[in-house]
Structure formats: C-alpha cells, structure tokens
Symmetry: C2
Subunit: 470 residues, 2 copies
C-alpha cells in the first residue's frame, strides 16, 4: 500500500470514509473565493468533533503530511486553499457547527469553529444579545476562520476586531493535543496569552475548534447618517468631533471617495444616493442605549454643528430602519461595483488616523505619475484608520494585462508609502500566500525572527499551513 | 578579576558607574511592596534608554547571569524582586521615563516603560484626552510594569485591561535585540500577535521599554452612585440591568460585602457612609458623553426601577464631584482597613458572572466549616467577575500564626472551588513567585506545555526573570 493510501485509510478511520473526499470536483475546497489560487488537495477531510480534528492532525503528523485548515473559504489572501502539489490535506471545519452554550448573565456564547458567523449572530440575537462582528462574508464565513484571521469588519471602532471579542479558545495543537481553554472570563492573568497567539495566526500554529465569545447588550437604537466632505482632512476632523460628542455611541465611521460612489451609480443605478456626489462621503453609525428619538437628537446636533463649522457641506440622517439599511447597502455595494468595472489592484492598509490625509495626497500623486489615468477606489473603515485603497486600470485599458504588468509596481508604491507613514500592509485580511513574500520588506526584522521562533516552537515540523504568513 | 567583577565592569560600561548599584541599602529594589519577599541582588542597574537596556541584557547574557526587570516595585505576587541568591541583576526601568509622543488625532500616546502611570494619565489629560487605566498604585507603579502584568483596575468593565489599551510595543529580547513595534494602529494583521505575548508575561519573555497606548475622549461627565442589595444574586441582577440600560456608559461596577464596609467604619470612622449597612453595597460609575444632568437622569431612572423591582433597597447618587470621590474613597479604603485589622489570606479570583453567587455561597460555607469564625472581606470588580476574596482570621486569633498554619489549606479550598466554577486563580495580579507552584494544579496541561515551549523559544537560556510564572 502506498504511503498516500495508508494515510487515506488512517483518515477514514478518524472521521468515516464518507468524510474523506479524494474524488470528483473538489473546487469548493481547492479554489479560493477570489478565484486566484487553485490548488490540489491530497484529500479533503471533514471532522465533526474536536476529538476527530485531533485524530486527523495526529494521523497527518504520523505521515509527515501537511494540513491546510479551512473555514468558509472566504479568505482574500490565499491562506485557506491547498497548494498545487497534491500533497496537502484540507481540514474542513464546517461540520463543527454547534453552538455549545449561551450564558446570558455572563454575556458569553461558546461556538464551534465551523459555525457560520451569521448563525452565531442569530443565536446571540435570539438570546436578546449582540455579537458585534459583522462583515460582507458573514453568510458563509465561519467563526473559526474569523478568529484565525482576526477579522475586522464594520463595528471595530466601538467593539474591536475578532480578537477583542474572544475570551477563550479550544485548540488542537500541531501534536494533535487539545488545549481546553474555553473560559468566559474578562480577566485571567495566569500565564502567557496563548489565546491571542492563536487568534490571527492563520492556521499556522494550531487549529481552533471552538471559542467563547463576548456578547454585548443590544443597543436600544441603531441609526445611520451620511455627510459630504470637501476633503479627507475634513472627514478626519468630523471623526474626531463625532468621537468626542458621541463617545462609544459611535459604532461605525466609513469614508468613500467620489469615484467609489460613482462606480456604484454606474453599475447599480437603481440605488438611490441620499447626497449629491462630492469628493468624500462619510457614513456614520450611532448605537444608542436610550432609543431612536435620543439617537436622532444626538445625530442632528452633531451634524448641525459640523455643518456650521464647515467640516461638512451636506448631511442626511436615516428616517427609518430601511433608510439605515439602504445607506449601508450603498457602502457595501462598492466592492461589487468595482468588480463590475473589472479587476483592480487591491490594498488593505491601516494608518494612524493622523497620517491618512498626507498619505493619500502623496501616494495618489505618485500613482498618477506612475500610471497616468489610473482611478482610485478609496474607501473603508476610516474610524479604524483602515482603507481599502484599490487601483483601477485607466478607462479602456485591458484589465488582465494591466494587472499582470503593473500589480507589483503599484503594490510597491502603495506599500512603501504605507511603511513610510507608520502603517500596516494588512489591516484586516491577513498575510496568507498573497503577502508572504512582501512581509520581510515591511516587518521589523526582530519581529520576524520572533515569529519564526514561535512557529518553530509550536509546530516544529512545519506541518500546519506551511508557506503561509512566514 | 572575578566573573562578578567582570560583569559589574561591563554593566558600568553600559550605563555609567553611578547607575550600577551594589553597595548600601538596596531594600527599595530588593524588598517587595507587601514586604513578603526580600532578595539579594548582584547589582541594581538603572539604564536610561532602550539602547542601554539592550546593552545590559547582552552583558548579562554574555556572563550567563539572569535578569529581574522591575518597574515601580508595586507588584503583589513577588515577580519583580530578585531571589535570595545574590546572583541576579535587577534591571530597574524607572529612568526610562519620557513621554515620547502624543498624537491627538490618532488618540494615542507613546510612553517609555518607566513612566509612572499617574504621569501618563496626566499627560493624556493635558492633551484633553483620557488614559482609562486606574489602580490603587497609580502614583508609583510604572506603565511598563502595568503592561508586563496586564494590570486591571477600576475601569476594565468599559475600557478593558492594560492589554486592551496597548497598540504597540518596543521590547528588548532575551538576546538583547530591539523589536521596534511602536505602532499606533487599531488594525494590523501582519503576523503573530507578539504584543499580547509580551503583555502579561511578567518579564519572562522580554523587557518592555516603551508602549503606544490607546487614549479615549474624556467623558462629559463622570458620576457615581451607591446601592444596597440584600443578596449577591441581586447585585448580579443589578449589573445586568445597568449594562442593558447604560450600555458602555457603565464604566465601573464594584461590590462590597457588609464586613468590608464594617472594617472601614471601624478603622476610618471619620468616613461618612452614604447608605446604612447591609449585606451588599454596590458602587456604580457612569461615564456620560453628554453631561452631568443627563448622567443624573439616567442614574435616577435606573435606580428607581431597580428599587421598584426589588433588586435594591436603598440608593444614593453623588450630588457633586466631591461626593463621587468620597464614594470611591470608601471603596479604596477597604484594602487599607483590612491591613489595619491585620494580615489576611488574599485571593484575586475571576469567575463567570453567572457563577459568582453560587461560588460565594458554597465556598463561604466550606470556609466556615474549615475555619470557624473566619471573616470574609469579599469585595471587588463585580462587573469583570473579579473578586478580592480575602479571609481574615477569627477575631482575637494571632494573625501571624493563623497565616502560617492555615494559608495553604484556605488557598486550596478557595482555588479548588474557583476551578470547579470555571474561574481563574489570578484575575489581575499575575502569577509571579506567589502562585507559580499552584499553577500546574489549575492550568490546562496542554496550555502549560505550550507556555513552556514559548518560553524556551524566546528565552532559550532562561535568563529573564527565571522561576516566575513557570
């Protein structure tokens, strides 16, 4: 029997023959969501419990075969699909999908890694509580993937990213042992912070099998507003004013440049845009503990003063839940509209808020010199300093050729500028395969050496998602 | 020249002869704040810059001598003083005391590790902003020590512990290299979370030399109230109601049992207690973005409904800043009052909020059986599930003998019960020397093995604060 056949037998013994897939169309696991990386798996294995995950990891370790953990396969950096070698086992976590416990008095929920984010949101809501993690892929991404990549999303400004919502973890180590760390504690200073080490490690240090998440009370009202700004400096000024005036009530602050909304208008003309086009449009969200009337009053006072002070030149407060949702829909249509326009060169960058305007001014000019006619789709979570700073080919240019010829150069211009302004080349998407080779250029060399030491200590044989991150 | 003399020469070359202390009374560095551990240092070294810290670490490594990093020497678990061997170098960080930068638009402040917490609070306040980390030792503890121990304090409920306020770090590694990680970013997914690994590692993985901290807008009003509850269940019920009604406005929720406040009344009779004695008294703090009138209105509505619903039987809202401060002073006098009463057996425990009442009922009964007449000073940050659950000797008993004879047994009863309820034996004080030998009984064995692997990978020769935590 070949080594491969012996491993497949061993995997079948772990999870049952029906859950070890080796034949037929495995594109759902082998091809990433952006259709950018197409790999070939030795097998796709679908365990249904933590013990089965541990058994699979031990079987692969015994055969010296590497493992690619996968959640909903919605990642954007090629971190969750196998390479093309046909030698890697995809460990699909989607059958670990139980909500294990909701503790209302403790404001916690314990979910298995394969739970779809939306299902976890709904379980929290059914208990009258809020899981404030929300992102475009929430209908298919899994909570395990969210934690493995430290997902961000639209409510980070108030509630933090996935890491901030995670109190405890259950993890299968590279040796196939189980760390039972599902505590629902807000304070626990009994040793090193293993939880945050696994969170964001993109499946390279261990396999998250379950998590205890912090929930929050549902706000009495959630309301959105839009405002138009003449400059990015004015957007940043409005952010500071909103933080001061609304405090933690400010739960979202998104900025969109004129071209972003023009693309939405072009490709989705049926969507009503509440404000006339302008250089910058901001979407604000207020989560209020008192109710809709109080929320409206606070929004109107803030925006009235911003108008008077010249920070904005127009504004609209949503009059209903439907209008709030329509404002968010406009924002969320930007990624779809740019896809309709054709592929572009994407960046997921973070900067100190104080540097954003200067960064955009100088980098926009440098890009315009290097790529005359390029069009910037510049939008994102301004409140977190996180921009999706995407470079669209000049009008009429062949998009595939543009990407192939210019992507490296454009990345270099943008990411060098990010580094010069003290920023990050990956704010919320991670490193994966996409940015692995770029990381050594931008990461502090001591930090890289520490990361490598940690990787060697927790996965000495390099079997967990090799070639990713490091 | 002896090896010791050669090292001292090398240390003098790093920081200047005046900053290498080997003679005279070194009790300020060798004796801990609780006067429980008295060590003997080979030398106390006082570098003034990150480069000097790195040079000292390299010199010690070259001589195979271990290092005990020390901030304000206010720790409670014996983690910052040398052992009695006379072979360890104390690395005192208090001369690294510069505020390097305040970025108001980015809401960040960068401080060197030796800055006293209160000085950092004041620097933030001078810029019109808030550093929401506050604890009893703030007048002498350092921000580096706060981060190395992941300090908690009175505002964790809303703002999180020290970890949650730290965005970036500068660290000297065990090899004497510098990790330049002082970013002011809210989002950065470029690899493993080294920051949170060093935070809370109690000087055993590296030496924090500076940190970039997240600041917050100052609330328009901060107001306190006190309420009296018949049971601990009622306190927990009031907490849930306050979280629902006040949302993130609720910035403090402290509970105190009747005996805690009786001790304050006995030893500090001049302090006015706003409410008549009862089984439990709660201190609530509201941080409001709108102003004092709004804060009072919300407090009165909440407490009125709690009174009507039978959760509380009396309440008082502070009428002035002075009254707010007096309420906090009452709470902060409990540790002093218990010290006046005589040493006691201290516990710093965390539990899921939902388990606190059951824990206290069964553990209190078990202690009363084991130690008839013992008196519980039970108080703490109920909103975080964190109790300082201290066992005072029976009235009239010799305190020193009581501690010597009963401490181990009492710790065992309390900590076993904590473990049975899914809690932590160290919520905010850390492990240090005090709880190192207890840790293996309560920590998941896989977690301990992972911690040891991390320690070996980042400090392979075991020279950083050996014998602490692990």
């Amino acid at each position: 029997m070949s080594a491969r056949a012996a491993l497949i037998d061993a995997l079948r013994a772990c999870v049952g023959a029906a859950q070890v897939l080796t034949e037929g169309d495995l594109a759902a696991w082998e091809l990433d969501w952006r259709r950018r990386w197409r790999g070939k798996a030795l097998a796709v294995v679908r365990p249904a419990s933590t013990q089965e995950v541990a058994a699979v990891v031990r079987a692969c370790a015994a055969h010296g075969v590497s493992i690619v953990p996968q959640g909903g396969n919605t990642g954007l950096v090629g971190g969750g699909v196998p390479d093309a070698s046909g030698t890697q086992v995809v460990l699909s976590m989607t059958r670990l999908a139980r909500i294990r416990e909701i503790d209302r008095a403790n404001l916690t929920l314990t979910a298995e890694a394969g739970c779809v984010l939306q299902a976890v949101q709904q379980a929290a809501a059914a208990a009258g509580l809020l899981l404030p993690l929300s992102l475009a892929a929430e209908g298919s991404c899994t909570i395990g993937g969210n934690l493995a990549t430290n997902a961000g999303g639209t409510q980070v400004l108030r509630y933090g990213n996935a890491r901030a919502l995670c109190l405890g973890l259950e993890v299968v180590t590279a040796a196939g042992e189980v760390w039972h760390g599902l505590t629902g504690l807000r304070k626990d200073n009994t040793g090193y912070d293993l939880r945050d080490l696994f969170v964001g490690s993109e499946g390279t240090l261990g396999v998250i099998t379950a998590a205890t998440l912090a929930l929050h009370p549902q706000p009495a009202a959630t309301m959105t507003a839009m405002a138009r700004c003449a400059t990015l400096e004015a957007c940043v000024g409005l952010l500071g004013m909103a933080q001061q005036r609304l405090g933690p009530g400010l739960s979202g602050f998104e900025a969109m440049n004129g071209f972003s909304l023009a693309l939405v208008a072009r490709h989705f003309p049926q969507q009503r845009q509440p404000l006339a086009p302008g250089p910058w449009t901001v979407l604000l969200e207020l989560s209020d503990a008192e109710g809709p009337a109080h929320a409206r009053e606070r929004f109107e006072a803030l925006l009235g003063d911003a108008l008077e002070g010249g920070l904005i030149d127009d504004a609209a407060v949503a009059e209903s839940l439907a209008q709030s949702q329509a404002m968010w829909h406009l924002r969320e249509s930007i990624p779809l509209a740019q896809a309709e326009e054709g592929l572009n060169i994407k960046h997921d960058i973070a900067l100190p808020v104080s540097r954003i305007a200067a960064f955009c001014e100088s980098t926009g000019a440098a890009l315009a010199r290097a790529v005359p006619g390029m069009r910037l789709v510049n939008f994102g979570h301004l409140g977190d300093g996180n921009l999706h700073y995407n470079v669209q080919a000049p009008e009429g240019v062949d998009v595939a050729a543009f990407l192939q010829q210019r992507e490296h150069e454009v990345n270099r211009i943008v990411h060098d500028a990010v580094a010069a302004h003290g920023g990050s080349i990956s704010a919320e998407h991670g490193i994966g395969t996409l940015k692995r080779d770029e990381l050594p250029r931008y990461k502090d060399p001591t930090a890289l050496a520490l990361m490598r030491a940690v990787k060697r200590s927790l996965d000495p044989r390099g079997l967990l998602n090799p070639g990713r991150v490091l």
